[in-house]
Amino acid sequence: MKINFIKATRLCGILFLLFAICYLLSAICYAQPAVSSTELIERAKEFAGKEVIYEGEVIGEVMNRGDHSWVNLNDGENAIGIWLDNNLSGIISFCGSYQARGDWLEVRGIFNRACKMHGADLDIHAINVKKTREGKAIRHRLLPEKQKLAIILSGVLLCLLILQFFKRRLSRK
């Protein structure tokens, strides 16, 4: 009976260890999925005050406000304001504009439906920021069709101006 008790205790120990390992592995492998801006806006009450992961492209520019900064992230549906520490904003190298595709950032932070600190804005206060895609400058290639069209139209305008000139001369006579 004594041997059986020891065996049972060992078995329990092994099972507990297995459970703990599985739990830790699941936490590592099954990361919290990022929410979209539409979900945050449409289901704001549900997410209010909770920790969320949001991913989007940095657009406009980083607006420095003392030891924190505002960064607006656009996930392709809407852009949401992220309030983050200046230490975190340092990783941003490209902001989205006509000349550039901005960096894509994954932000883990507290979602505020109506932020008490920022005049009831809908925003996210970042805890952690990770760059998921590096931005780049965009080189816009001039479209030759536009050049051709502009030349043709200039020709048409020239013809019209010549026509106007002769019409005026005729009317004077």
Binding site: I41, E42, A44, K45, I59, G60, E61, V62, M63, N64, R65, S69, W70, N72, N74, N78, A79, G81, W83, G96, S97, Y98, R101, R113, A114, K116, H118, G119, A120, D121, L122, D123, H140, L142, L143, K146, Q147, L149, A150, L153, S154, V156, L157, L160, L161, L163, Q164, K167
Partner: protein
């Protein structure tokens, strides 16, 4: 018997239309210069193409329809209503060439929204648009706010009785100076002086809020043009929420209010009496309706409990209210937040504020304060008449720049326009409902487009039905021109078809 318009009538209309199209083409030189300065080659070519098309069509019309005749009332009205359609069609060319709009209809929607200072938009990926196209979006608001015809009168058309007829056709029935061309130029002077001051203040605020100097000036200029002309376009997709700044919100609120005041009032305040601000029927009515509608919005928001504390409620509630009442359409909340968080009561109060509008002879749309004041005075007058003995004789007066006697003719005219606006709001709402949108949302968006406001609860997007886009384009056009010139255009076409 209806008289069929003659060829000479059509030629006169075509001639003036040609001039206005050339005027719009010339205004494209500004974004073209911006594109050249910023090294934006494709947008530069977009504006060269659009400029050439405008000049060619305009010159062709002038050559074909050359006329030295003065415009009569009907022709003046027809020119104005067609001019607004034409400038939207031609102003949309740079949008279409930029590739940021889904279809040409979407481009015309945005061009009409810009010229009519509405602010509803169907643009896609606004955050990656070129500076030149962004400048053009805001510049058309600046031009449209002062008036497309006012622009033409200031620079292209000689002063004449015909000029006055076009001026009236554009929804302005008050001359500030004896000559209508001088009035047009005064409107531009006022706007340019405010533009310089407003841009400077916004640029400084932007810089203090962490923007670069270049961006703060560019955004300042764009935001000023759209705020003063009660338009509502913004350089970024988040509208005013992009800035996350109380100072920016305060400055834009002041600019929106300045833009919603009658230009004649600006003239009086600048050159004559500061007391006019407190005596004028329009400013009084404006103050009263702001207070009343804000009270209703605040009650609605407090009931829904969406904002923590009074400050949040005031900052969000008052800003959207001022933006709606002045017909601007700047938002510091997302469109769908109106539906999910504001609640029906606050939303209904905001619809009322949007429908009322600002001052006559200003850049706002909607019913307008002078008419509200006159109708209210007439109602008060009638109640007083019942209360007093039958033999009592009294004259009701109101103050609008000078003391004026309230006449039945004015009341009838104000009531007529008021009813027309209510009808226009209702038609858009009903069409929205027929297309499957909930009633409150349909009426919100309809009022916003017809009163040239631009606040959106989320209906206006590129994927909305084409019929609704056409409805809103028509509402923006009719609402901006205040019915008379549109009715005349309909009459003109009816006479063309059925006249003898």
């Amino acid at each position: 018997m209806i008289l069929k318009p003659s060829l000479a009538d059509l030629k006169t209309v075509g001639y003036y239309l040609g001039k206005i199209i050339i005027g719009i083409g010339m205004s494209m030189l500004l974004p073209l210069a911006s594109a050249a300065a910023c090294g934006e080659l494709n947008p530069a070519y977009d504006f060269i193409i659009a400029f050439l098309i405008c000049i060619i069509i305009g010159k062709f019309l002038i050559l074909l329809c050359f006329s030295e005749k003065n415009l009569n009332w009907a022709q003046g009205m027809v020119v104005v209503s067609l001019a607004w359609l034409a400038v939207s069609l031609f102003g949309a060319i740079p949008f279409y060439l930029s590739g940021h709009w889904g279809s040409y209809l979407d481009c015309v929607f945005d061009a009409m929204s810009g010229f009519a200072t509405t602010g509803l938009t169907l643009v896609q990926d606004l955050d990656h648009i070129s500076r030149a196209v962004n400048l053009w979006r805001h510049l058309i608001m600046f031009i449209g706010g002062q008036g497309v015809v006012v622009l033409a009168l200031s620079f292209l058309v000689r002063g004449s009785a015909g000029a006055f007829r076009m001026y009236v056709g554009e929804g302005r029935d008050e001359k500030i100076l004896p000559n209508v061309v001088e009035t047009s130029r005064f409107i531009w002077i006022v706007s340019i002086v405010y533009f310089i001051l407003g841009t400077l203040v916004l640029a400084i605020v932007g810089r203090l809020e962490g923007m670069s100097w270049l961006n703060s000036f560019f955004h300042g200029a764009c935001i000023f043009m759209a705020a003063f002309d009660t338009g509502g376009f913004a350089p970024q997709s988040q509208n005013i929420l992009y800035y996350h700044s109380l100072s920016y919100e305060i400055v834009t609120m002041v600019i929106m209010i300045l833009g919603s005041l009658n230009f004649k009032l600006h003239y009086t305040l600048w050159l004559q009496s500061k007391k006019e601000l407190t005596k004028n029927i329009e400013t009084r009515a404006f103050f009263m309706t702001i207070m009343l509608t804000f009270f209703l919005v605040a009650v609605g928001l407090a009931k829904s409990g969406v904002y923590p504390g009074v400050l949040g409620l005031f900052r969000k509630g008052f800003y959207q209210l001022i933006s709606g009442h002045t017909g601007t359409g700047y938002q510091t909340i997302y469109a769908r937040q109106f539906i999910h968080e504001w609640g029906d009561f606050a939303l209904a109060a905001l619809i009322v504020a949007m429908g009322l509008g600002g001052g006559v002879c200003s850049t706002t749309g909607g019913i307008k304060m002078l008419r509200i004041g006159v109708v209210f005075k007439a109602l008060y007058n009638d109640v007083k008449r019942i209360m007093l003995p039958e033999s009592a004789v009294f004259i009701e007066k109101y103050h609008h720049i000078k003391e004026m006697i309230l006449q039945d003719r004015q009341v009838r005219s104000a009531m007529l326009i008021l009813l027309c606006y209510l009808g226009l709001y209702a038609i858009g709402g009903i069409i929205g409902m027929l297309l499957g949108y909930p009633a409150l949302e349909a009426f919100f968006e309809s009022t916003s487009s017809a009163a040239n406001v631009g606040l959106s609860c989320g209906i206006t997007k590129a994927s909305m039905p084409a019929l609704l886009k056409l409805t809103y384009i028509a509402q923006m056009w009719i609402g901006r021109l205040e019915f008379m010139s549109i009715f005349t255009l309909v009459g003109f076409f009816a006479a063309f078809v059925r006249g003898k």
